[in-house]
């Protein structure tokens, strides 16, 4: 059940497998109540986060995008998040000049044991996106509905 009142917004989360996805799991196991707007996509590492993933998410109608990975220095692959930090910092500027408010994008570091921090990040970021409201959309082309049959991607489980 959504904790926040009103309509849910579309928030996409790109999480690394080793730390933040574990952190989200920890929050779940601990039964911490969290808003449910976030849709999580698991990746091996924040170094795998092509900044274009984030752009594509926004252009397809996301209202907010969150990237989270291991703390700097704790990357499972040693340096993935160090590269990611530079790329995502530059991405902020691109979003800004494109007319997508920088506040709609956030990247952070949450370890597998930080269930409490994960809950805080999700709650704070969701609240921020709700303050901003729905993102600007192209007047001629609405958000993209995804036909799962066409993607060829099978649902897990």
């Amino acid at each position: 059940m959504p904790v926040l009142e009103g309509k849910e917004l579309r928030i996409v989360g790109f999480l690394c497998n080793w730390c933040s996805y574990g952190g989200a799991d920890t929050a779940g196991v601990g039964r911490f109540a969290q808003p449910t707007d976030l849709r999580i996509i698991k990746l091996p590492c924040t170094g795998r986060v092509n900044p274009l993933f984030v752009v594509r998410a926004f252009l397809n109608g996301a209202d907010g995008v969150l990237v989270s990975g291991c703390h700097p220095g704790d990357c499972h692959y040693t340096a993935g998040n160090f590269y990611a930090r530079r790329r995502l910092e530059i991405l902020r500027e691109l979003l800004d000049v494109m007319g997508i408010q920088q506040e709609r994008f956030h990247y952070t570091w949450v370890s597998a044991s930080e269930g409490q921090k994960w809950k805080q990040v999700v709650s704070d970021f969701t609240a921020r996106i709700h303050d901003l409201g729905p993102a600007a959309a192209f007047s001629g082309c609405p958000a993209v509905p995804i036909d799962m049959d066409e993607t060829g991607i099978k649902a897990a489980g």
Binding site: L52, R56, L59, R86, E89, G99, R128
Partner: protein
């Protein structure tokens, strides 16, 4: 004219050792210019240099890797060459640089707009005035007003390295205040206005990809992610969304590499101000990493490296 003659002599002397030399010649009308590929001495008669000869010839170098190539080079073009060398996309010993001192490059689109697109019959370059004749009418344009964006922020008129240098030409056509750029215009807008700005411009984009093909750093050819991956990064629908996505790809794939040569915007047949995105990223990169592309052959582009402690990047709160 004396400079052109001097350049011809320099090229003629080296030509026997080279497969070809990249230079400029006149185009289909007095305003336009086109690249000239010199392979024999007879080609030298057509060679022309000056403010109307504007293409960044370094864009051809990566595809000519492995051959011995001469290239006529201005200050800004040499930054492209430096960047290509940094990325091992070309070999220094295969390139012979004929340096010229540049006085500024004319933004042909601004001139065509100023004469309302009328067919141009004659162009004369004065000290600070460009006289353009369209049939019966003559228009006197201040050169300071019709230069390319990059000329107002030029980092050096002479190339940063050369093998042969034409005697220094003096003067600079950028003589006054920098006129406002598209980035300045965007700066004055809020997010929604910017988004609408791009939606409007992208609506006019004909998706010819001239911007990519003209870019000296877009070296992937048939492997461009915009067309070669499955599932596709951009679909084939003719919408501002897909076209803006393509521009995001171009901007991010040249981030930390783009020297602001302006070829993307110059090549665009629709006059879409796509350079603004790259200028914005470059400004941020300068601020964060104190880095400008194509200035130092020994340095590593900022997104090819990292520091464990990033002094200039602050952690932010999700709130």
């Amino acid at each position: 004219m004396a400079h052109t003659q001097e350049l011809r002599t320099l090229i003629a002397r080296e030509l026997p050792n080279l497969d070809l030399v990249l230079a400029w010649t006149g185009g289909f009308d007095p305003l336009s210019s086109t690249p000239l590929f010199i392979t024999t001495e007879a080609d030298l008669d057509r060679l022309a240099v000056g403010p109307m000869h504007v293409q960044n010839l370094a864009a051809y170098l990566p595809s000519l890797k492995g051959r011995k190539v001469g290239i006529v080079t201005r200050g800004c073009d040499s930054r492209t060459i430096t960047e290509l060398l940094q990325e091992n996309l070309i070999n220094r010993d295969e390139v012979v640089i004929f340096g010229i001192g540049c006085t500024g490059a004319v933004n042909i689109r601004k001139v065509r707009t100023a004469v309302n697109g009328a067919p141009v019959t004659d162009v004369e370059i004065g000290d600070d005035v460009l006289t353009v004749t369209t049939g019966e009418e003559t228009h006197a344009l201040r050169l300071q007003d019709v230069l390319m964006d990059k000329c107002y922020t030029c980092a050096g008129q002479a190339p940063r390295m050369h093998d042969h240098m034409v005697s220094e030409r003096s003067g600079c056509l950028a003589t006054g205040e920098t006129p406002p750029s598209s980035l300045d215009l965007l700066e004055g807008m809020d997010a929604r206005e910017r988004f609408a700005f791009w939606e409007g411009h992208m609506d006019r984009c004909i998706r010819c990809y001239a911007c990519r093909n003209a870019c000296p750093l877009c070296v992937c050819k048939d492997s461009c992610v915009a067309q070669s991956r499955d599932p596709h990064w951009v679909d084939q629908s003719d919408t501002p969304r897909e076209k803006l996505m393509f521009q995001a790809i171009h901007a991010l794939h040249t981030a930390g590499r783009c020297t602001e040569c302006g070829e993307c915007e110059r090549a665009c047949p629709m006059g879409i101000p796509i350079l603004a995105m790259k200028q914005a990223l470059n400004r941020r990169i300068k601020h964060l990493f104190d880095y400008e592309a194509g200035m130092d052959q020994e340095s590593t582009p900022p997104l090819f490296m990292f520091r464990q402690q990033e002094e200039t990047i602050k952690e932010r709160d999700a709130r």
